[in-house]
């Protein structure tokens, strides 16, 4: 077996978080979350529905763009991925920009469905590859979607975890705080501390993010890679290399 890549470790962590879900949605241009979701689907024996947004061939919607949100509102989407130009220690995410809104000094694309899906999807996984004090901030400059809500606000969903290139955090909704769950192979707690601007909880000993076992690796490099290649060919060739036939 060849060397295990970071992407394979993270995809496995994601699949673990999605175990038992019925229907996962993955946003546009999210190849690594999609890989994790498709691995979870493979493990479910195909019972899990994975809808890749922005790709008509990988989704089954027949009622236009509102359908994802309508279904999610009814509790029909168990897992989703969100990111943020900034993510803070209370789980707030900012997809809009840096500085004084509306005249941001840096402008990002926008909040997309976050301000709704974060409220109603039970397992939202925050995914932000770049782990730095620029991205993981003490308090976001603009709240696209809040990590937690006041009583009286309908809230059946929210973040369960934050995955970066360095580590995996779990989110504690009652305390509105992250707790470090594991550090990825090749990285250290100090690295995580140095690059995180928000305060977070620590377990007594910090485990390493588990490596995929042989069966998982076979699934990732076999049927999952094949499916990923039909949706994200560039990413698939990068990660799975020769295993993927040219399109």
């Amino acid at each position: 077996m060849t060397e295990i890549r970071d992407e394979e470790v993270l995809a496995t962590a994601i699949a673990d978080l999605l175990d038992g879900a019925r229907h996962i949605a993955v946003g546009m241009a999210s190849p690594l979350p999609a890989t994790g979701a498709l691995l979870a689907r493979e493990r479910s024996g195909g019972a899990m529905q994975v809808s890749i947004l922005g790709n008509a061939k990988a989704s089954r919607w027949t009622n236009g763009g509102p359908e994802l949100f309508d279904l999610a509102g009814r509790g029909g989407i168990d897992g989703f991925f969100l990111s943020g130009g900034q993510i803070d220690g209370r789980g707030n995410i900012n997809l809009v920009g840096v500085g004084d809104y509306p005249q941001s000094t840096v402008r990002w694309s926008g909040s997309f469905g976050s301000a709704y899906l974060y409220f109603v999807v039970p397992r939202v996984i925050l995914f932000r590859w770049e782990h730095s004090r620029r991205t993981l901030v003490e308090a976001v400059d603009f709240v696209s979607a809040p990590g937690t809500s006041e009583p009286g606000v309908h809230r059946t969903g929210g973040p369960i975890a934050l995955i970066t290139n360095l580590c995996l955090f779990a989110f504690d909704r009652d305390r509105a705080r992250f707790r470090l769950q594991s550090v990825h192979p090749g990285h250290t707690l100090d690295e995580v501390r140095d690059n995180t601007a928000f305060d977070f909880d620590l377990p007594e000993t910090v485990p390493q993010t588990p490596l995929p076992d042989a069966e998982t690796l076979r699934a990732i490099r076999g049927p999952v890679a094949e499916r990923v290649a039909t949706i994200y060919p560039v990413f698939a060739r990068q990660v799975f290399g020769a295993a993927i036939p040219a399109a």
Binding site: G64, S109, F112, G113
Partner: protein, 274 residues
Amino acid sequence: MTTPETLAAMIPDGASVILPKGEGPDAPVALAKALIRRGARDLHLITLPACAAPVSGMMVDMLIGAGCVARVETSGVSLGELGPAPAFNRAVTSGAVTVTDATCPALYAAVQAGGKSQPFATLRGIIGSDLERMRDDWVVIDNPFQPGDKVVALKAINPDVAMFHAPMADREGNLWIGRGRDLLYAAHASKVVLATVETVVDTCFYDDDALAAGVLPAFYVSAIAHAPGASLPMRMDATVDLDAVRAYAGAARSEAGLQDWLAREVFAARSAAE
């Protein structure tokens, strides 16, 4: 049947214009270029709900770069996998364009309320975000059936114009949109509906039960231009000429580069074709 130039002439300065998200080949790029050529000003763009695919983002970005746009209401504008939309980001940070930030389901709900001519829609979520704090057309109200249960009321949206590209028109002017039902929502809510189409067929879609399920009826459509390739650089099979978008993105990184691109790809291209 008419031309993109004629459609562009039907969109007055200052109009609110709703645009599709461009996941399929529905972004009306040729019509946007015609708007730039006619020197449209002060448009209020509404993306349904985002223009964050390479081609739809590029379309919005070039309209902004060409000075056609005063305001954008959107859940997201970018070139998708090719990164940020340069002119959009410049215009927002400079204040040249006002952005009204939204979230996808809120735009859908407000447009669907517009299509039903109801004064507002309601939506869960949003509460506690800065999106909600920044807008006076979204207000938190009580669920009348459960006091204390908060819900956001969103003022309905009825754009002046919906514009998009569709795969086919039939001889009666019905449009076949297939699963692209966002076009139907945009059309139902808008006062004027302008479409470019890839193909015109000499049949009636309603004669085929399978096709009929994917139709936007002619009585919603104000005018149609037969304009093959009007969604390029997205092709009708939903693949994209990413090099064309990369060339745009590279040029648009600077104001001068963008103006050169417009001169070459929008103004000169049309003159050459005439």
